[in-house]
């Protein structure tokens, strides 16, 4: 009888419990400031970062379903990304989600650039992070000086695409003028591997033509 009463109570509580909102989700150290999370996670920073990313999935799911009060949810999402990065600065999924979710949201672009710039320092072998950070800085923040600095960082890294050279020169041209951009390309021509030279030459010719016409 006691067992039955207990089971009835427990069962009815499960049946009547409202669906949990993703913004209430607290996994491991969830919801705490990144520094506190890092302290509490101790030697399990990797797993704690993974759990932050899992929590982020559920926050994003709520954003998609919920039409109102999205600003708060986006703030929480950004906090989770920041926490995941603080815990494990090498984790590629954090940056993949930063690029995929945050960067294209009106309040998220500057956070994305910030996160990707810091990630670029940790993942020193990865050209994608400074490349994407530079692109977002140009396209969403219209900060070409920063975009140029990030793109020129991407160029220095192994396997960076030739497109990065063109973009870096474009950003420099827009922030510092055509002359600076030509100088930058001439410098690159001397320092970059041979396969980049044709693209650099073509870009220099275009800029010189523009300078002469303008």
């Amino acid at each position: 009888m006691t067992l039955l009463t207990g089971l009835c109570l427990y069962g009815s509580s499960i049946a009547c419990k409202p669906a949990q909102q993703a913004d209430q989700t607290t996994l491991l150290t969830g919801g705490m400031p990144p520094a506190a999370q890092k302290m509490l996670a101790g030697p399990f920073a990797g797993s704690a970062a993974d759990l932050d990313i899992l929590a982020l999935f559920s926050i994003y799911d709520t954003i998609r379903q919920q039409q109102t009060n999205q600003t708060d949810l986006w703030k929480k999402l950004n906090e989770r990304l920041l926490a995941a990065q603080t815990l494990d600065p090498w984790f590629a999924d954090t940056y993949r989600l930063t690029i995929g979710l945050t960067a294209f949201h009106e309040q998220g672009a500057s956070t994305a650039v910030e996160l990707l710039s810091r990630g670029a320092k940790a993942r020193s072998w990865d050209w994608e992070l400074p490349f994407m950070a530079g692109y977002i800085a140009h396209d969403f923040l219209h900060d070409d000086a920063r975009a140029y600095a990030l793109m020129s960082e991407a160029i220095k890294r192994p396997d960076a695409p030739p497109l990065a050279v063109g973009l870096a020169s474009k950003f420099l041209q827009s922030s510092e003028g055509t002359e600076a951009s030509i100088h930058f390309l001439n410098y690159l021509k001397a320092s970059m591997p041979a396969q980049y030279r044709d693209i650099i030459d073509a870009r220099i010719k275009r800029l010189e033509k523009k300078r002469q016409s303008g």
Binding site: K38, M39, P43, A45, G46, F57, W90
Partner: protein, 270 residues
């Protein structure tokens, strides 16, 4: 003669632990952690093998700590409070007895983590087979094994803390309470220290308190193996010199604590 006694106690300890339901539950939990690592990693987009390794490291560390804190403390506590030690001590000196117990516990811990390492290697092999190209660079089948060795070293450090605590504490509850508190502090101190000793904070506090904080930090073992595990999970190259000093430091700490435990156990009433 002494070695023979140590061997006999170690074999008895191993047999005793293997027969205990708690140890069997820990052995079963190794499979649970491997399955959990596989399940969770499937939710991620790019670095799935890294996620697997994160959870395998969590499993290894929790199993090692759980073994030391629950099985180690209970065994030593019963030895002292329920007279198991009195079966051996008329035939050998206390040093041989404690060393035999330590050896037996270490063997059982090694067995547990070896099983976890084998299952982890199988999980990583599956993960590498299904990982996206270039998203598991630097990770090999050995990664889980190396992680297992680190987990063994850290768990052995916790075991040494347990032995040290049991050598002076009275009663199983007291032993477990102090051992758990020391372990928790050892795990959390490195990250707390790095936060407290950051340049902004350190500028605000007097020099003597900084020295005090450092002294407390030195009393506890360096449990920053988690950073090493994170490097392994990302397939990054481990800095050899730092690693060497870390290993030397851990071994030195273990030897010091076991020696202190021997000295205290020799003097205590049973």
């Amino acid at each position: 003669m002494i070695l023979n006694n140590i061997y006999i106690v170690a074999a008895f300890t191993l047999r005793e632990i293997l027969a205990s339901p708690a140890f069997r539950a820990l052995l079963a939990a190794t499979a649970l952690f491997a399955i959990m690592a596989l399940a969770v990693s499937n939710l991620f987009l790019l670095e799935t093998v890294k996620v697997q390794l994160d959870f395998l490291w969590l499993g290894m560390s929790l199993l090692g700590a759980g073994f030391s804190l629950f099985i180690g403390t209970t065994l030593m506590g019963h030895d002292i409070t329920r007279g198991t030690a009195s079966l051996f001590l008329p035939h050998m000196d206390r040093h041989s007895y404690l060393l035999g117990r330590t050896a037996g516990l270490t063997l059982a811990l090694t067995l547990l983590l070896a099983l976890m390492a084998v299952l982890s290697t199988a999980t990583v092999a599956w993960g590498l087979e299904h990982a996206l190209p270039d998203r598991a660079a630097g990770i090999s089948l050995w990664s889980a094994t190396i992680m297992g060795l680190f987990a063994l070293l850290q768990s052995a450090t916790i075991l040494a803390m347990v032995l040290f605590t049991c050598s002076w504490a009275t009663g199983v509850v007291e032993m477990m309470l102090f051992s758990s508190a020391f372990t928790l502090m050892a795990y959390l101190l490195p990250s707390v220290m790095s936060a407290i000793t950051s340049s902004e904070v350190i500028a605000q506090v007097p020099a003597w308190s900084v020295a005090f904080i450092h002294t407390i930090d030195y009393l506890f073992p360096d449990m920053s193996g988690g950073q090493v595990a994170l490097c392994i999970a990302h397939g990054l190259t481990l800095p050899t010199a730092e690693l060497g000093w870390y290993l030397a430091g851990q071994c030195g700490y273990i030897i010091t604590l076991v020696a202190a435990a021997l000295l205290l156990f020799d003097r205590r009433d049973l």
